[in-house]
């Protein structure tokens, strides 16, 4: 009986196969590096992946995520028509950018006249609810982009405006004057245009061709509001 159990046990279970054997069936072009497995719905693979990433050191995990975020930053800074941002979306980058922007837009709160507190919440709420609204709008117009993909793209395209905020902060350290204002205006307008071009490059393909303008206009409004907040920021 023991031998019967063992033999049938062996027959019932498959012979041990290499760990990631099934992954070769999935067709992904090799030239674009992939981070994350969002598009693959096979649970067993994901469980295997999780247990292998659970055992690695924290530094490995952080470095891997940071590299993925950095790669997407590069894609935003040099926008081409690619769908890397769309395929492996993540929200780390948008969160980091939003928090940085909100912290830098915070005024000193010691002053009783000008309340510095709401600035952080304001920026946060504007960014995230604005992105949600734009996503809903583009879905209602007939776009075939998923909710989080759109949030990911819109969040990452705030990067030029965050850079503009940094530059404005540096410029404000110099003496105030109309030249100061003109420099900041020029920088903010340039970064605003860059943000719009970057987000259009990623989002345009997902819309029906004759309605691109309808989907891009709210994006324009969104980045306009953020640019306006950056331009009118004066540290007290």
């Amino acid at each position: 009986m023991a031998e019967a159990m063992e033999s049938s046990g062996d027959g019932g279970t498959a012979a041990p196969r290499p760990l990631f054997a099934g992954l070769s069936d999935i067709s992904i072009s090799q030239d674009i590096p992939i981070e994350g497995e969002i598009t693959i719905p096979m649970r067993s693979h994901i469980r295997e992946f999780d247990s292998s990433t659970l055992n690695e050191s924290v530094q490995n995990t952080i470095m891997r995520d940071l590299k993925a975020v950095g790669k997407k930053f590069m894609h935003v800074l040099y926008p081409r028509k690619s769908n890397t941002l769309l395929r492996d979306w993540d929200l780390w980058g948008p969160l980091f950018l939003c928090v940085t922007l909100a912290l830098m837009l915070q005024r000193g709160s010691a002053d009783s006249e000008k309340d510095g507190g709401p600035q952080f919440a304001e920026v946060f709420v504007i960014v995230w609810f604005g992105a949600v609204t734009i996503t809903l709008n583009s879905k209602l117009l007939g776009g075939n982009i998923s909710f989080f993909q759109s949030l990911c793209v819109l969040g990452y395209c705030i990067l030029p405006l965050t850079v503009a905020m940094l530059i404005c902060r540096l410029v404000l350290l110099a003496e105030p004057g109309p030249v100061n204002f003109m420099v900041r205006l020029f920088v903010v307008i340039l970064m605003f245009a860059w943000s719009i071009i970057a987000s259009t490059a990623f989002l345009a393909d997902s819309q029906p061709p004759n309605r691109k303008a309808l989907a891009v206009y709210p994006v324009f409004l969104f980045y306009f509001v953020i640019s306006w907040m950056i331009l009118t920021f004066t540290p007290q």
Partner: protein, 347 residues
């Protein structure tokens, strides 16, 4: 033999990492009894068969590794197999039921496809409707057509919010209990939704043929005039210019809305009530938006009242010294405002 082998195989297949905690709870004392039950229990075979099928469908490669890991625990396999299978079945059924309920609730409440037909527009249509919202039509004997879409009105409300924010920032409005953005959004959306509902209610009382969607669309497109006026006058701070635009542009868009409503209402009293209310609210809203968030008022305050705050204002404001450019315009504005205050005082 098959019955005993099957649970063993099933146990090897099924005891993946997630039921590891469950296995530890089983006491070793009762192992002999449970083994006997497992061997003789024929009703358990259906569970085992289902469990077998279940696992074979879902977990093929991982089983090999799990089985290799489980080979060491020889004697407890049968007992773990039975209890593990049952609990796994129950948990799986609960998961399926929960998932079905959640997806049903989600598709019922979070279905944005309800709104999809109202966003079915082309850019050319939006452009033509924007232009038409400024052109009052004289034909009031025949009910005029109102396009029932929500994209244009929604975008116009957001544009108004952006322009308002621009105006508030320029005038350094301080809101103590909220945020600038919250106030702007609240004002614009509150006006659009609130006044639409109110006029719809009045239209219901006056037997006008208009639906809520049409009213929302009509009022939304009527905000196009407001956007134009505010955009120009928040940047060029001339009092007379604002009044001119208020009458001209605001008046045109109001006339258009009034004409549409008149064409859909019967009876002079009803027409007067409905259109008078709409015209008054629309024009007064533009006046409010201009004066509540504008620098000129500070000059008037300083001239008329000194440190007292008149009831129309929300919070006290200082003349901003933030931009050097603003300092120049502030002095110019104060001169204009003083002239305006003098004319106002004379009325």
């Amino acid at each position: 033999m098959a019955a005993t082998a099957a649970p063993a195989g099933g146990a090897q297949n099924g005891t993946g990492p997630e039921w590891g905690g469950f296995e530890e709870n089983i006491q070793s004392g009762g192992s002999a009894v449970i083994d006997m039950e497992n061997m003789d229990d024929t009703s358990g075979s259906s569970f085992e068969d289902m469990g077998e099928l279940h696992q074979r469908l879902r977990e093929e490669e991982v089983d090999a590794d799990a089985a290799a890991a489980e080979e060491e625990d020889g004697e407890f396999l049968g007992m773990k197999g039975f209890k593990g299978q049952l609990s796994r079945q129950v948990a799986d059924q609960m998961w399926q039921a929960g998932k079905r309920q959640a997806s049903r609730a989600f598709s019922l409440y979070a279905n944005i496809d309800i709104l999809r037909p109202y966003f079915d527009v082309e850019p050319a249509q939006v452009r033509s409707r924007l232009l038409e919202s400024m052109i009052p039509i004289k034909m009031v004997n025949f009910p005029q057509k109102i396009a029932g879409e929500l994209y244009g009105p929604l975008m116009l409300v957001f544009t108004l919010v952006a322009i308002l924010l621009h105006g508030m920032k320029t005038s350094d409005t301080i809101i103590r209990e909220g945020t600038l953005m919250g106030t702007a959004i609240g004002t614009c959306f509150g006006y659009w939704l609130g006044v639409s509902s109110f006029i719809y209610f009045l239209a219901y009382l006056c037997n006008a043929q208009i639906t809520m969607l049409q009213m929302l669309a009509l009022l939304g497109y009527g905000l196009f005039g407001h956007c134009i006026v505010l955009f120009i006058t928040y940047n060029i701070h001339l009092h007379a210019l604002f009044y001119l635009f208020w009458l001209l542009v605001g008046g045109l868009s109001t006339l258009r809305m009034v004409a549409v409503l008149v064409s859909r209402t019967v009876g002079p009293t009803q027409r007067l009530l409905l259109c008078g209310t709409l015209a008054a609210l629309h024009m007064l809203f533009l006046l409010y938006l201009h004066f509540a968030y504008h620098k000129v008022v500070e000059g008037i305050l300083d001239t008329l009242e000194g440190p007292n705050i008149p009831p129309m204002q929300r919070v006290p404001r200082d003349i901003p010294a933030a931009f050097p450019a603003a300092r120049l315009s502030a002095t110019m504005l104060n001169a204009t405002a003083k002239a305006g205050a003098v004319t106002l005082q004379s009325h």
